[in-house]
Symmetry: C2
Subunit: 261 residues, 2 copies
């Protein structure tokens, strides 16, 4: 371990969306990204090239560093921890998964933790990190201080959060991001079926998102279900008679809204 | 009726969110807003005062104008059309409702139509009208030209759309706006139940909305359901065992996503 004031060096395991965003963000803050380790050499090399790191396609050959960031699929974490090379046990190992317990990394090293940024990362979509909160966890003071140090180099806010609460946060993010995007997808399906250009929805979608910055969503709810306007909701259910799945979703969500007002 | 090049004068029936936004937008474009008519004199006066119009609390006493914009609750439209004063039959009457047929106004006047802006209007939330598409309909050339003229003064795009297609658009907007906001509300409920500050979701919510501007929602979908990651979705369903309604919604939407990938 380095002493607390020397710059940390980092090796990233993974080369997907989260790995790419973290690697580029760390490199842009002057952190030495020593290695990129991925199952396929091609993807490791592509990202390693962008941040001046050494590429590898196995844990045994990955570059040594102070911190190892595991930005991989959830179900790969346990296997990675179990096969962690003994020559890399000196560092702090952090994973970035919302719904995985910190302890899954325990087999790898004495110092481990979590770095979970509350944001969705997609290739080619820039993220304003200064507005993002990153939630950290550590099994001891060393790992917690390391997670805090890395997080605060990139993200606007850093908060400590337990594994149990992080899982609730991840669950909430599924509603706020994944299910929200699915609502967009269903709206597009309705319009595309009728030959109407769905891009006209964009200002509505953005306004709905921006309103949340100033208005609690319970107060910001609009539409026929909130007004208990069954003339309109019945008309919409009728219009969805050829799409029973959408009709089912429409009915369930309208009832869920009505119950709250 | 005025000749086509003279400025139109407008009286607005209604004093709610849509009425307020339209009145202020028209006044700011130099349109003479002659009257604001609302069931309660207090709300009519408050809006009339902001745009230099005459307030009234009955159709019989509302100010005469070239165009009457009915920005009222859906179920009030038929009654307003039926009790339209004979002295106001000379003008064009347009309603602003997504799910109501144009013909509901036919009893009021010979020239009628629809002006339906694809946006959600809330008090105190500014709208960039230049990005909004407004959908118009008219029963004849006079009403269609009038709707187009008013719409293009305010909104960036104006498109003609039939009553049937407008209802599909309104239905799509319920998914893209009302149901999306409900997803935010459910995410807030999860976090507030666990004492976690929900405002950390805001950058995620905005990123999800902005991504739609460049990425079709089918391609932009992320999360455990798209990956068919049942380890995570089962964990989330378990975490919702104390909230059966949210559990039901989580299961249905996850299945709906999984079916598409």
């Amino acid at each position: 371990m380095k002493t607390s004031n020397s710059p940390l060096s980092v090796t990233i395991v993974g080369a997907g969306n989260v790995a790419t965003h973290l690697a580029l963000a760390l490199a842009s803050r002057g952190v030495a990204v020593q290695g990129i380790c991925s199952r396929t050499m091609a993807s490791a090399s592509a990202l390693a090239h962008r941040v001046g790191a050494v590429a590898s396609d196995s844990l045994a050959t990955m570059a040594e560093a102070d911190v190892y960031l595991l930005a991989v699929k959830d179900d790969a974490l346990a296997e990675i921890a179990a096969s962690w090379p003994s020559a890399r046990r000196g560092g702090v190992v952090l994973h970035t998964a919302g719904s995985i317990a910190m302890d899954v990394i325990a087999p790898a090293t004495a110092h481990y933790g979590v770095l979970y940024p509350m944001q969705t990362f997609t290739k080619d979509n820039a993220v304003d990190y200064s507005r993002v909160t990153c939630f950290i966890e550590g099994n001891d003071e060393v790992s917690l201080a390391t997670a805090r140090s890395l997080s605060s180099m990139i993200f606007g806010r850093t908060e400590e959060l337990s594994t149990a609460d992080r899982q609730q946060l991840h669950l909430a993010a599924v509603f706020a991001c994944n299910f929200t995007n699915h609502m967009y997808a269903l709206a597009y399906e309705v319009l595309e079926r009728h030959g109407i250009d769905p891009t006209c929805l964009q200002p509505l979608v953005e306004q709905t998102a921006h309103k949340l910055a100033t208005t609690h969503p319970h107060d910001g709810q609009t539409g026929p279900a909130r007004r208990h306007d069954h003339v309109v909701t019945d008309k919409h259910l009728q219009a969805l008679s050829a799409a029973p799945e959408l009709q089912h979703i429409y009915r369930l969500l309208s009832e869920s809204i009505e119950q709250r007002y």
